[in-house]
């Protein structure tokens, strides 16, 4: 069913049931997100897609559009700054050293940082010690960079048994991402690469391959994350 709503004052048409991120992208409006993967169940963990819906702050990935909705993405200074603050929180909470990271240039967090205009985090950097897990033959788990998006936990499974390969241990500030080394060792090179690409940061790192593109030729250097997000929709 086709319905009408407004995004930043612009009236647009949409299919009932689609979520706000997709509808906005279809209409050329980029909403950043670090956990949402189109076509997969929404995770709603990173909150960086927060927008105002009829004046209330909502995560755009979790919210289906409905008729007459008034959505503010870029028209409202407060919500623009909230999205930026959430990205900054992720940078201060973990340990993100972009220049030395293998994922630099194809890291969604880094690319989103540029997109929201972040220069430095307003929150105190915490320098939390986090331990690298290298038990698996094919994957480094660089926990410094984990943002707990849950993509790997929800979307990566052992092909044969359907068991979870990645999981979360503990809760709150004690939470850590875990990898089942035995199951990880059974992953095909393609599955390892896909898991590494699925990770929005440089936490899941493919041990067998790295730094293959020179600076300037990397994914988001060729085309920004915003352009890519919008392009998919305009296809």
């Amino acid at each position: 069913m086709s319905i009408k709503l407004t995004i930043d004052g612009q009236e647009v048409q949409a299919r009932s049931g689609d979520n706000i991120i997709d509808v906005a992208a279809q209409n050329g409006v980029y909403i950043p997100s670090l956990c949402y993967v189109k076509g997969k169940p929404c995770l709603g963990t990173c909150r960086t897609c927060s927008v105002k819906v009829n004046g209330r702050v909502m995560a755009a990935c979790t919210m289906p559009v409905s008729d007459g909705m008034e959505i503010e993405v870029n028209d409202d200074a407060e919500i623009v700054d909230m999205r930026k603050a959430l990205v900054e929180l992720l940078f201060s909470e973990g340990n993100h050293n972009c220049p030395s990271c293998e994922k630099s240039g194809r890291c969604e967090l880094q690319a989103t940082g540029y997109e929201v205009g972040m220069m430095v985090s307003r929150f105190p950097y915490r320098f939390t010690p986090r331990v690298v897990d290298h038990a698996s033959k094919t994957i480094f788990l660089q926990r410094d960079r984990c943002i707990f998006c849950q993509r790997c936990v929800d979307m990566v499974r052992d092909k044969k048994t359907g068991k979870k390969i990645f999981s979360i241990k503990s809760r709150g500030t004690h939470a850590s991402i875990e990898i089942d080394a035995e199951l990880a060792n059974k992953m095909s090179p393609e599955q390892v690469r896909a898991a590494s690409d699925l990770c929005p940061v440089g936490c899941i790192i493919d041990k067998t391959q790295g730094y293959d593109d020179p600076i300037g030729k990397r994914k988001f250097e060729i085309k920004s994350i915003k352009e890519r997000a919008l392009e998919k929709e305009h296809r």
Partner: protein, 601 residues
């Protein structure tokens, strides 16, 4: 495979949604859940070991390594700290012979902290294994630990007369009810449940029950205040192969203990409310999600359920009708966030208590993906009275929009802490008189997630859904209490209890707590206060569930009500260094490095 684990698995038909029960069974048998047990459970459930650990490590009371033969958890709330907590803490360390988060050398007793265990009216209090001890003093601690060391069980110490744990006397022997008011709606003695239900089923089709509850204007007592009749109507209309009724007895909001008293004094009111809900929405299965802190109520409640089965109020063909319903108890394991209905459902399904993304709401897709009505203990007890006395009778009490009564769990600076049943519409001042509040200044209602009131400014305000929509927790603080320290304590509580799945709550909560610490230390500036406000709004706006959105409430509300306590602490920046910059601390690493080098040489 280990025989014990095998029998645990088969007890639950190797159904991984029952993982919580299996973990409890293993821990109760073996003292903790070993790596070996985890692997065997994982194999039996066709899960990865880390997946089992994901559930296990989420909950405070599950142990993945030995923590003594007995576990002692001392409640560390603000209220406990006002009642001699520190002395009791010291006595425990001394008598057990180890510090907190440690086990004594003999491996007999593990000592740990707990957040609110639902005993704010008789703090300091602690859990020992599955029972509790209240009104602790150093002398009492000495006696209890001494008996444990002599080989007695916690149960034998708490219940020396060996009353059966299925009896109400057992519960009474362990904790005081502290029921301070006469029955108005709740706690009616000597009810004839069978004839109440018989009459209800004889004269009403399910839609009539929904109509009756709707007309009574009963609203959820857990805090959100959602109209119960509407919830049941939506549950009736929702499509699903099965439907479920869940009683939320996770009562984790610090300062609340009304559900403890309802479950120990009028448990059958709650069961009858669940039956009414099941009849209304068309459910065959009910679950009571009971927090682990209330383990001492488990066998008693189990007996109440059995009584109902024996009397034909539960089971197949209830009272001769074509209506089937039964109830099981699901034990929690120590997680405040499981009070959120979707986190609670995840927990019932054997998972970590991550609140779900909404929509869909549980009434559409809840437990096992089926329509589920999650109702608070008190809501269900009220419903049982409405089906007995009718909607008009119920709505005659209270105000037009807030009908019936409200149970208040009162603690803090007052002469008579305990349970009060007040009519909606009662003012804060009236409550202060009723409870014998001593020189009250600040009242925290609905727990840390609620609102902070100034008795001076808010005394005439009314308890009702449009004003003081209280979830039942009421903590009173007099003029001598340190408001900032209380607020800091609350912000630490939210950090400890955050599930950690969304960014603002997990990371932002810590920054808010640090800001409070900075202000208390006398290193905060006006800019810190401004940042507290904007960062609080970030958490309120963008967090995934009620925990994150409520976490800044105590700070924002006390800033509004008592700005002077913050202003007093602020400093003005002199010179180029921020007041929050601690030169000594910044240099300490250097000093340590120099010292280490000297030692090496």
């Amino acid at each position: 495979m280990n025989v014990e684990i095998q029998s645990v698995l088969s007890c639950y038909s190797s159904d991984k949604t029952r993982l919580m029960d299996m973990l409890w069974d293993v821990q109760n048998q073996q003292g903790y859940i070993s790596d070996k047990a985890i692997t065997q459970l994982a194999d039996g459930l066709k899960m990865s070991s880390d997946d089992v650990r994901e559930t296990l490590t989420f909950y405070h009371f599950f142990l993945d390594k030995p923590f003594g033969k007995h576990q002692v958890y001392l409640c560390n709330t603000v209220i406990a700290k006002m009642n001699g907590y520190h002395e009791v803490r010291e006595a425990l360390e001394q008598e057990i012979g180890c510090s907190f988060n440690r086990v004594d050398d003999s491996g007999l007793i593990g000592l740990g902290d707990a957040n609110c265990i639902g005993l704010s009216d008789q703090e300091p209090a602690m859990m020992v294994d599955h029972v509790v001890f209240t009104r602790l003093t150093p002398a009492k601690v000495k006696d209890i630990i001494g008996q444990l060391k002599q080989g007695k069980s916690a149960d034998e110490i708490a219940n020396p007369d060996e009353v059966l744990n299925t009896k109400q006397d057992y519960v009474e022997a362990i904790v005081d009810a502290n029921l301070r008011t006469e029955s108005r709606v709740l706690f009616k003695p000597n009810r004839d449940y069978k004839s109440i239900l018989q009459k209800c089923l004889d004269t009403n089709i399910p839609e009539d029950v929904i109509e009756m509850i709707t007309e009574s204007n009963l609203r959820g007592r857990g805090g959100a205040g959602f109209p119960t009749g509407l919830k049941w109507k939506m549950g009736r209309e929702a499509e699903g192969a099965e439907k479920y009724v869940i009683c939320n007895a996770d009562e984790g909001e610090p300062g609340t203990f009304k559900d403890r008293v309802l479950l120990s004094h009028s448990p059958k009111d709650v069961l009858l409310g669940m039956i009414a809900a099941a009849y209304a929405i068309g459910s065959r299965h009910g679950i009571i999600y009971l927090r682990a802190e209330y383990w001492y109520l488990k066998e008693f409640l189990q007996q109440q359920i059995q009584d109902f089965r024996d009397d034909g109020l539960l089971g197949k063909q209830i009272l001769g009708n074509n209506f089937e319903f039964d109830i099981r108890i699901q034990m929690g394991a120590g997680a405040y966030v499981c009070g959120d209905e979707t986190a609670l459902i995840e927990s019932c399904e054997g998972k970590r208590g991550t609140p779900r993304v909404k929509p869909p709401y549980p009434i559409q897709q809840g437990y096992l993906g089926m329509p589920t009505s999650v109702n608070n203990v008190e809501t269900l007890a009220c419903a049982s009275r409405i089906i007995e006395e009718g909607a008009t009778w119920f709505s005659a009490t209270g105000t037009d929009e807030s009908t019936g009564t409200r149970l208040l769990s009162v603690s803090g600076d007052c002469e008579k802490p305990g349970i009060y049943e007040i009519e909606w519409g009662t003012t804060l001042n009236e409550v202060m008189t009723m409870i014998g509040a001593v020189d009250p200044k600040y009242v925290q209602i609905s727990g840390p997630a609620g609102d902070s009131l100034s008795v001076e400014q808010d005394g005439d305000r009314e308890f009702c859904y449009s004003d003081l929509s209280c979830n039942g927790s009421l903590m009173v603080f007099d003029h001598t209490r340190d408001i900032l320290e209380i607020v800091r304590d609350y912000s630490e509580f939210f950090v400890e209890e955050s599930c950690g799945i969304c960014v603002p709550c997990r990371a932002g909560g810590v920054d808010l707590m640090h800001k409070m610490e900075r202000i208390i230390a006398g290193r905060g500036t006006q800019q810190d206060l401004e940042e507290i406000t904007t960062w609080s709004n970030l958490l309120k706006g963008t967090s995934r569930c009620g925990l994150g959105t409520a976490a800044p409430n105590p700070i924002l509300a006390t800033l509004d009500k008592f700005p002077e306590v913050y202003a007093e602490k602020l400093v003005v920046q002199k010179g180029p260094l921020l007041p929050s910059f601690d030169m000594d601390e910044a240099m300490s690493a250097h000093e340590l490095a120099v010292k280490n080098l000297m030692e090496e040489e």
